[in-house]
Symmetry: C2
Subunit: 340 residues, 2 copies
């Protein structure tokens, strides 16, 4: 942490990364902490969320959101504290979620800021289980996967911010739920702490056989976060009328050229549904999810795990880590002191 | 046609074809024309439908329907005339659709037989525009593609039994509709007779560029009948929120090992829906479609084209032809005299 309390620090894109992103692709810029103009709110960042989708923002070509340009501040969800406001709805000391950017302070018009109660969940939870990752899991499960009692659902990246919630929601729906995660430590946590029925290590020698052993009746729904060999193994075992929620394919985000995918002949014969989705298309889902999940988080009915790195300057390497599965749980950067 | 009127002829699977099926994979068996048992109906076949899905029935592995076993009569929809009945709802002379099999006569319990009016469309139409292919187009368009005015829809195998109806329905919905077909003759018919906005020849040197020229605003919906290079070209040009009705992938039905498919990363970023379907899952759609399409066919509001081969013994080679795109329009075998 910088000791300089009059300056703002921002992580700016220096060059587009090829392959794995790292600290050398970014630069830290300093400028004075902004003061709020008419109608504006200035916040200091407490927590910054690091998510796999950010890699897509670093690509030249535009995907679903505008690419970050060289020289621009990197984007990202934050929880912060209001330190200055000319906005009728916010006063200094308010805790808010919704400001964006890899920076110690941000200035906005307040339109997207949501006040966070101080007496509820830990503030960091608003970027994970109660934030975009949690709402993403909720949308994918309720709108696409629709797991039912008697069915088998598989979730990849099952120990991650999205996958861990998706798996628990599918268990609540009564399905047999099998996670896929990287390494024995994550797999153990997915089974013992999240309560999933099984977890298969995607690094194991024969993923397909191990998955089959845990899904003896085939796979009725799949929550896809990974792609690649994991996708191939799951798709081969989908049942007729299976639903696939395409949330992400993190295994290939660093690739310049994407590898071929599955032959889609099975989609016809098995009447499979493959549906891509992005939770921000329907912001009302986030509000709805926060209302539903708040009590569950408070009483321990939804388990989550955080992987916290300290200091804004570590954000680039943290992003590299999440793309190679080095994180264990929701990845967060602690940018400033947490008042709770 | 056999001159022997006391014997039934049936096309029986002799061996599973490798690659393109042909006459050598089948044998013609003769047995006496059956007489109806209690509650049974005997029909003589007039028209037999040849459809690409039949190739899947010849594979060892089961897809959505049970595979035909060596020694069994090949399956297929027919229009026939009742020649004997112990069923209260059918009398000799009734024209019926719904009996199955590559054979000159069949005996059933009548449960799936539907009486065809003699004063409406030509009898053969009940296997094409008013039959399973028409209902398939209807289901894919109304339930999955959902083309709207201002959108662009692409349909592959656009001169075929399903594609030709799908394209016309999308035009009726107000979309710009671009067909893909094999060769200039088919493309001309798709534009001039079906009234589609354009048709791209999939044999052309640069399918992707030609398709792009006809779809300057990208592709919002795709009715997939072909797979392979056609699928690749279309998928690359899908717009956000595009819908893909996966009806068939005829380009690979003769392949022992299916080639890799598209990388599915775009499905996430563009929130694409890819949905496989088989019309027989919802038989009520066929009834509904016949009710809706009957008047359209009668007044020329729905154009269709038939490709008729004479004689049951030509069914195997006709099946080979439809898999390589040699047919031009709905492929039919005329098995016996048509009373209309």
């Amino acid at each position: 942490m910088s000791a300089n309390t009059t300056m703002r620090r921002s992580v700016v894109l220096k060059r587009r990364p090829h392959g794995e992103p790292g600290a050398a692709d970014f630069t830290i810029q300093e400028d004075p902490i902004p003061t709020p103009g008419a109608g504006q709110v200035v916040t200091r960042t407490i927590w910054l969320s690091i998510d796999p989708y950010m890699r897509g923002r670093l690509r030249e070509e535009q995907t679903y959101a505008v690419a970050i340009q060289v020289g621009e501040v990197m984007t990202g969800e934050t929880v912060g504290e209001v330190i200055g406001s000319n906005h009728s709805e916010f006063v200094a000391g308010d805790i808010v979620v919704g400001a964006r950017g890899w920076q110690t302070h941000s200035v906005t018009d307040g339109a997207r800021l949501v006040k966070v109660p101080r007496d509820g969940a830990p503030l960091s939870a608003w970027l994970g289980v109660l934030g975009m990752p949690g709402a993403t899991a909720y949308a994918g499960i309720t709108e696409i996967c629709k797991p039912k009692a008697g069915e088998t659902m598989v979730v990849s990246a099952a120990s991650g911010a999205v996958g861990s919630i998706a798996g628990q929601l599918a268990k609540r729906a009564g399905a047999r739920v099998v996670g896929i995660a990287g390494g024995p430590e994550k797999c153990l946590w997915v089974q013992d702490s999240l309560g999933l029925d099984a977890c298969v290590d995607h690094r194991s020698r024969d993923l397909r056989t191990e998955l089959k052993a845990e899904c003896p009746d085939g796979i009725d729904a799949y929550f896809e976060n990974v792609g690649g060999a994991v996708q191939e193994a799951v798709f081969a075992q989908l049942n007729p009328f299976a639903r696939v929620a395409m949330c992400g394919m993190v295994s290939q985000y660093n690739e310049a050229v994407f590898p071929p995918g599955p032959n889609l002949g099975f989609v016809v014969g098995k009447r499979v549904l493959i549906q891509g989705f992005i939770v921000s298309d329907r912001p009302e889902r986030l509000t709805e999810w926060r209302m539903l999940a708040g009590p569950l988080v408070a009483d321990g009915g939804l388990i989550y795990r955080e992987d916290v790195h300290d200091g804004l300057e570590n954000a680039p390497n943290a992003l590299a880590g999440i793309l190679s599965g080095q994180n264990f749980g929701k990845l967060l950067i602690k940018v400033g002191p947490d008042p709770l």
